[in-house]
């Protein structure tokens, strides 16, 4: 018996947002009299950080500190319509809706400030720390709080904004499949190392090296969280998981986490990530959506690495020890390739 090491490579792109478009998102932004903003949505935070990323987008657009923005979601009585958190659409679609709503609110805020400062609103800028001042003259300033109070109690203005983002629905040609699937794509490349035990058929992923192009990384920690978790999920898809281990037969279906196999902490491979940021033309500050695609390159990279290690092609996922052993037997033992 022996352990064989191998390396496998894969590269992918990923469409951002619902295929064909037609999936709108809305946002409402308003300020209270203290100059603190609430963003009302119906988006869902699944743990991916939806609320946090749109909070940063809203703060950036409004020109206020992130602490002055709170995101409220998802109550159908108060949050405007959104298609949902899927298809890597949250950041792209909701981010754009929030930008538009925040721009509208910001323009009212600047008008209120301009009236107090007796200047033209077009000459005003925000410093991102809670102040509005005349461009080039920081001393002629007013706090966002004072501007909001003036708007509410003296001027009778509502500092609020509405935003919607919709990629119009595309047609599909029945004869050729001509269509506009999405407006932007994320990208990834992945090289994994595996160890294959030719006695037991077990495959261990020992290392992952990747490059992910995600548009602008709106929050680098949230991006990292997605890429690490997602790549591990890809690893798990490659070598562990299925609800139907005898597919297409339905026998021996797992019913709990004792029988539904997933990697434990000791099985996870270190993952060395490079993040590339080519901004999307129509993304919020150039952002795309790293959520789904980070798993995809790992599946093929693992089967390619198994081939590199022992010379058997496992074209049916997951790569179970049984499949590896049967293939090794049929081949008459391991035949390492070592091409990478």
């Amino acid at each position: 018996m022996a352990l064989h090491r191998g390396r496998g490579f894969a590269a992918i792109n990923y469409p951002i947002g619902m295929n064909l478009g037609g999936d709108p998102s809305q946002a409402l932004v308003h300020s209270n009299p203290d100059g603190k903003f609430t963003v009302a949505l119906s988006a869902i935070d699944l743990g991916q950080g939806m609320k946090s990323v749109v909070r940063q987008i809203a703060a950036e657009t409004l020109g206020v500190p992130v602490e002055d923005v709170y995101v409220d979601t998802a109550d159908s009585d108060t949050g405007p319509h959104d298609m949902g958190s899927f298809a890597s659409r949250g950041t792209h679609r909701m981010g754009n809706a929030v930008i538009r709503a925040a721009q509208e609110a910001r323009s009212v805020m600047l008008e209120a400030a301009a009236e107090e400062l007796e200047v033209d609103a077009a000459d005003l800028v925000t410093d991102g720390r809670g102040n509005i001042h005349v461009k080039g003259a920081p001393s002629r300033s007013i706090t966002t709080m004072a501007a909001a109070q003036a708007a509410q109690f003296r001027q009778g203005r509502t500092i609020a904004g509405r935003g919607i983002f919709l990629v119009p629905l595309s047609d599909v040609d029945p004869e050729t499949g001509e269509m506009s699937p999405v407006t932007t794509f994320a990208h990834a490349a992945m090289l994994v190392e595996v160890e294959v035990d030719d006695e037991t058929g077990e495959v261990a992923v020992t290392d992952m090296q990747s490059a992910y192009e995600v548009g602008r990384a709106l929050n680098p920690r949230l991006v990292e969280q997605q890429l690490r978790g997602g790549a591990w999920m890809g690893m798990s898809h490659a070598a562990w998981e299925t609800t139907e281990p005898c597919y297409p037969a339905r026998d021996h279906g797992p019913v709990d986490f004792n029988t539904y196999l997933m990697p434990g902490p000791g099985d996870l491979a270190p993952h060395h990530i490079s993040v590339l940021e080519r901004p999307a033309e129509d993304g919020p500050f150039g952002g795309k959506g790293p959520g789904e695609m980070c798993a995809n390159p790992v599946l093929p990279a693992v089967v390619n690495a198994v081939y590199d290690a022992v010379g058997v092609r496992i074209d049916e996922l997951p790569v179970t020890p049984e499949k590896v052993l049967r293939a090794l037997r049929a081949q008459g033992g391991a035949r390492p390739r070592r091409r990478l």
Partner: protein, 572 residues
């Protein structure tokens, strides 16, 4: 054992594409701590299951033990006598007991009952729901419901399912295949002429790839808690990934104006695609309507894994024509999505997959036939990478074989064939904002894979377009897979299919409240009455300004009107 105290490094390559970004921003780009993280790590964030009510009841379903069976009789008498049982629901209690999720996008025929009355099509399909004071009492009562089954032939394999004579899963799709554009039993992609190109290729490389169903495996299992509110309204706390999608689905099957529904969610314990199907909300609300009490419907882990829709299995066949220098000149796909017993979202995934082909490469001849196939298994649904993950596995495993056949480094083969800005893609749109080459180069550099100076000098931003940006002079098309009897209209232009007249059982339960509501969603009314008015012409009236009744061409932006239905408006 690996040292997982160091999960690996992360580097942000700000040097790449720097000229396309303005990095002078205040908040965006900062590693700001999440707004909700303290609540999450201290166990204080409220999830749907934290919204408990006085007098909360528990709902559990009676499920089919067969892959396919006729339901002869459902006897709930004994179960109803179990202590704590409040009410037992059957299909007759569901106001509109037939739905397909994408009907909210005008796509697909209503095919799936909330509680089946006459026939089951997968093991685990629900036929009754018990509401009891405690979960244990609900479980006991479920066991006491007597169902008389007549097992029927079933089919589990996608390619067996499309053979003549296979057991028919859904009568409305006699070929066990979803119908696209009212015209074909699959989605076509045709670009250039693959057969001609195969004839000139130096090598032909073929492969078959199979993914198995995969569980989304959220920590929090799917569910909903519904309770009567004031003014005839119902509140529903839900784990949904799509609040208005679930609200719209509930409004439809319960025949309620959406204004009577108040959905609250937003903080979900993992979704990964498994919380889009809106299975729980309608039954929990129906229970609250019929009992006047709060009702919780939550899957246990076994249901989550075996009844909850998984990532569907996919089978892909790929055939490539390759030149000696590694250029791929033709690529043909045949793909089968295993939709399981009902459509759910698989029909959408097929179009998404077709639009994704042939992967991130510029290949001058591409041909794909992608099928959404019905089998007698748990319906499939969305999961992370829906419509893409399976075919990316197939494409990239295949690329490895191509590299071996032509004797090239696998990274070099990708860079050589990678799409670049200005290239024409197989779905006939020009590529932009590409970055595949750069990703490959960065990984090669990190991993010590030696690339030639030419490959290292390549860029997504140079060398694309021109000849690579032109549509093929000739595209081979065909009428294979033509079906008759389905009217074209709706989503995706000549879009969603409608049968001419499938035999439909009368909807049991209360009569529809609004006549216009049932007409709007009734396939017969639209498929048969206005088959000629393709495109947006047969749209039900939206809540927007009125349109002329029968416009000849599809409106330029039909989607904006169509999606008014998501909020349930179009059904009122």
């Amino acid at each position: 054992m690996k040292d997982m105290t160091n999960p690996g490094m992360i580097a942000f390559r700000k040097d790449l594409f720097a000229d396309e970004r303005d990095d002078r921003l205040n908040e965006v780009g900062k590693p700001t701590r999440r707004q909700d993280i303290l609540g999450h790590v201290t166990g204080r964030s409220p999830f749907y299951d934290d919204h408990l009510f006085d007098g909360l009841t528990h709902l559990r379903c009676v499920r089919s033990p067969h892959h396919a069976a006729r339901v002869r009789r459902i006897d709930t008498a004994e179960a109803a006598r179990i202590p704590g049982v409040v009410r037992i629901l059957t299909g007759a209690d569901v106001p509109r007991n037939l739905n397909t999720l994408l009907s909210l996008l005008d796509f697909g025929i209503d095919d799936e009952p909330v509680l089946s009355t006459d026939r089951v099509r997968y093991r685990g399909e629900p036929v009754a729901a018990v509401i009891a004071e405690t979960e244990a009492q609900a479980r006991a009562a479920v066991k006491a419901v007597r169902v008389e089954w007549e097992p029927l032939p079933h089919v589990l394999d996608v390619e067996e399912a499309i053979r003549p004579g296979a057991p028919v899963v859904l009568d409305i799709y006699p070929g066990n295949r979803f119908v696209y554009h009212g015209k074909y039993d699959h989605q076509k992609l045709r670009y250039g002429d693959v057969e001609a190109a195969f004839g000139h290729a130096d090598h032909i490389v073929e492969g078959r790839y199979q993914m198995s169903p995969i569980e989304q495996a959220p920590i929090e299992t799917c569910g909903a808690i519904a309770a009567p509110e004031q003014n005839g309204r119902y509140v529903c706390y839900t784990s949904t990934q799509a609040l208005f999608f679930s609200l719209g689905t509930a409004a439809k099957v319960l025949n309620l104006p959406s204004s009577r529904l108040h959905f609250i969610g937003g903080t979900v314990g993992g979704g990964f695609g498994g919380k889009v199907d809106s299975i729980h909300e309608p039954l929990a609300i129906l229970g609250a309507m019929l009992t006047g009490r709060p009702v919780k419907y939550m899957w246990d882990r076994e249901e989550e894994m075996q009844v909850g829709a998984p990532r569907g299995a996919e089978r892909w066949y790929i055939k490539d024509g390759v030149m000696k220098d590694g250029r791929i000149v033709a690529r043909r796909f045949t793909g089968f999505f295993d939709s399981g017993a009902y459509t759910r979202l698989s029909s959408y995934a097929v179009i998404k997959a077709a639009g994704h082909l042939p992967g991130p490469y510029t290949i001058p001849n591409v041909h794909a036939d992608v099928y959404c196939v019905f089998t007698n298994r748990t319906p499939a649904t969305a999961m992370r990478g829906f419509g893409i993950t399976g075919v990316d596995f197939a494409i990239e495993a295949h690329m490895d074989k191509v590299a071996e056949v032509v004797g090239m480094n696998p990274v070099a083969l990708r860079i050589l064939n990678a799409y670049r800005d200005g290239d024409m893609k197989a779905h006939r749109r020009v590529a932009k904002n590409c970055a595949l080459i750069e990703c490959c180069q960065v990984v090669a550099e990190k991993a010590g894979v030696r690339l030639s100076p030419e490959l290292l000098a390549m860029s997504s931003r140079r060398g694309g377009g021109g000849e690579r940006g032109r549509l093929p002079a000739h595209t081979a098309t065909d009428e294979a897979g033509r079906v008759e009897g389905f009217a074209a209209q709706g989503y995706a232009r000549r879009g969603g299919p409608r049968p001419v007249e499938p035999p439909r059982q009368a909807a049991p339960g209360p009569a529809p409240v609004a006549a216009s509501a049932s007409r709007a969603a009734d396939p017969r009314a639209r498929g048969a009455a206005a088959p000629a008015a393709a495109g947006g012409g047969s749209m039900p009236p939206p809540a927007a300004p009125p349109e002329p009744p029968a416009p000849a061409p599809a409106p330029a932006r039909p989607g904006s009107l169509r999606f008014s239905s998501i909020s349930g408006f179009r059904r009122r």
